[in-house]
């Protein structure tokens, strides 16, 4: 077949990529491969294949092995790293899990916020830079050790935080659980709102196979002493355009993060740092309840929950409580009480986000929404498309960076720090 030359100028950014993201995310229930504990050995280890250069693990390194499945194409419940092939310029990563999509680490932005200046925002600023050679993820070149800690960034891997063998387990009743790396067989995942309550002689897996007391150290050598108590709805990799995905966080979240970032935690640092694991003041609770957007304080506690600014429920280990709050239908929308706490994940996501410092919202700009919409280079709004607001992102990218949430704040919205502090 005759064809013209191969060279064509590529000029078109994709203005409709949001369709792909939203439409692919209409399902994504929990996955039963790990089932709360160690998966089938043959799913990760290549036991007796002497012909391969690596006879044991599937990937070149630990994280690459994880991404063999979790980095697959097409948004799905357990996918957390969109392949390069699915992320052309202007198109965001596809997954909208509470932890975020590692694909954001590959989304760099360059823009001119004002005449004569250029801002370069490297992708590596967007999250935890796991090392996964097969998939092009490399160590953080700026933070060579964990911020607020000393862990070698070149060692950061999925199993730095997750126990790839999932030994930590939750036993006892949902109301009064106990944890250990032995004690009873794991019968199912313990991560979900619909996870079973372990009967006597049974256990369920720790939340997301995260390490905890008794777990061996993973890559990077850190030993966790805190339990990450939480529950997530069974369908969690989804757009939050209509209802939020509410992860119910309980006792221990910030202490758990402080394992690698001790100087970021008020309990383990003498440095000035934002409080974590501290109860919200009555003023902050009042702000959270009433805050609907910049200058709009007409909200009510019963409908004030915002998954972009989540909080830790009391200091609870009660999984009956946590599981009841883990919903994605908007039925648990009540904001915090003074017994609830601010935590690391009130502002950050665990994997990566569309914003610097892996925060849940953009903190590198005066306004996160303008002219009533999320900004973007391709916005029909002459204001929202301005470079200082769009910051190199398409509307789709901005929207997905907010997990698909409809822009429901003030028409000119400032930082979501104000959800608690209401300084705007």
């Amino acid at each position: 077949m005759p064809r013209p030359g191969i060279t064509r100028i590529k000029t078109v950014l994709f203005t409709v990529a949001i369709a792909k993201i939203f439409m692919l995310l209409s399902s994504g229930e929990s996955f039963a491969f790990h089932s709360g504990g160690v998966a089938e050995c043959m799913g990760c280890h290549n036991i007796h294949d002497a012909k391969s250069a690596s006879a044991l693990l599937a990937g070149t390194d630990i994280s690459s092995t994880c991404l063999d499945c979790h980095g697959e194409s097409g948004a799905g419940g357990y996918h957390i790293a969109t392949p390069d092939a699915d992320m052309p310029a202007g198109t965001p990563p596809g997954n909208m899990t509470p932890g975020g999509d590692f694909g954001w680490l590959k989304k760099a932005y360059t823009y001119s916020p004002r005449t004569g200046t250029t801002t370069v925002e490297p992708g590596e600023r967007h999250g935890h830079n796991i090392v996964a050679v097969d998939f092009g993820y490399t160590a953080d070149s700026t933070n060579t050790t964990a911020p607020g800690g000393d862990m070698d960034a070149t060692k950061l891997a999925c199993n730095s935080c997750h126990d790839n063998h999932g030994k930590l387990r939750r036993m006892g009743s949902d109301a009064a659980p106990t944890f250990g790396v032995t004690g009873a067989p794991i019968i199912a995942s313990g991560s979900y709102g619909n996870s079973p309550a372990p009967a006597a002689g049974q256990a369920v897996g720790a939340y997301r196979l995260l390490r905890g007391p008794g777990s061996t150290a993973g890559s990077g050598g850190k030993t966790f002493t805190a339990v990450f108590n939480a529950a997530v709805p069974a369908t969690y990799n989804r757009s939050e355009a209509t209802t939020p995905t509410r992860v119910a966080y309980g006792y221990g979240i910030s202490e758990w993060c402080a394992t690698c970032h001790p100087d970021m935690h008020t309990a383990t640092s003498s440095k000035m740092t934002h409080p974590v694991n501290q109860g919200l003041s009555s003023a902050e609770v009042d702000n959270y309840s009433k805050y609907k957007g910049s200058g709009i304080m007409t909200g009510s506690a019963a409908t004030s929950y915002d998954s972009l600014v989540p909080f830790q429920t009391d200091n609870t280990r009660n999984y009956t409580t946590l599981k009841s709050l883990a919903v994605n239908d908007g039925s648990k929308a009540t904001g915090p009480a003074t017994s609830d706490r601010v935590m690391c994940l009130s502002c950050h996501r665990a994997h990566a986000t569309g914003w610097p410092h892996m925060t849940r919202w953009n903190n590198d700009g005066e306004l996160i929404a303008v002219d009533g919409v999320w900004p973007g280079t391709d916005s029909p709004s002459s204001i929202a498309s301005q470079a200082k607001y769009a910051q190199g992102r398409t509307v789709t990218e901005t929207t997905v960076a907010y997990n698909g949430a409809t822009m429901h704040y003030a028409s000119y919205q400032r930082s979501l720090c104000n959800k608690c502090h209401a300084k705007d």
Binding site: A32, D49, A58, A75, G76
Partner: protein, 317 residues
Amino acid sequence: MKSTLQKITMALPAALLMVSVSAPAANAEIKASYLYSLSDFYGLVPYSWTRVVIDNWHAETYVLFQNNVKVFNGNGMEVYEFGDDIDVGIIYDVAIDEKTNIFLLTNNKQKYSIVRCNYRGEPKETIEIKGLPDELKGFIPFRMVYRKGNFYLASLSHMQIAVVDRNGNCLASYDIKPMLELSEEEKKKGSEMDMVGFNVDNDGNMLFTIPAIFKVFRLTPDRKLSSFGQPGSIPGKFGIVSGVAEDNRGNYLVVDKLKSVVMVFDKDYTFITEFGHRGVNPDNFIVPDEVAIDKGDKIYVTQTRNRGVSVFRLAYE
């Protein structure tokens, strides 16, 4: 611009080498020889995990990566590209028919459709999908295969398949998940098992893999579902299965990402041989993902780590 001699040298390096890479099992009668990797004038095109589709009528190969479609000739050299410069939305997949029409599975303004393009990749017609049954409400196809005048559309995450004609009319649909007969334990877990590989064989049977349960499935048009596969490391057993395709003799090619091999099974699911294996040599794989085969028995295997698309030739002895 490099000289013609240089181009030929780059395009056909393995034609000179023709290294036999298989280690056939006792009953194996198939060998795979590495030929080359899909290339342009600058060398190997460094794809990672991409979509590869064969145009058997014109001996060309289409590769979709980041909304850009590149066309390679029968020697694995790039001859054309399009996609970035047309306003059709996000391109999910590509198919080609016998009349040189190029079909793109697209999502434009939150609406998916099939866009027919001419041989230059210029959009000429949008085919809307019509008549889907209620069970496919919310159906979002991510893969498209053209066979004998019909399009087979698959939603991997929903595990649903729709067969539509050239006008977009739904001819048949399949909701796979209820057909899997999950155990009560799996149902209690609320498990989701998504399809990874999807293809259609020459008889119109739909092929797909579900890596979570280490199996390859074949679904006949009259809804008979069969499967094969067991977890394990020895030849013929599965680690993480991915792409699947039928060769020209009715055998099934199955990609295993964990073992980094392509396995060959006969039509009765009996293991014949496997080749590749993890490594950095040209005839090795690093996490292969998809497989396609042309009528000349050349198979195309996608990989990660920027290793592009490797092309082998199967020899039947």
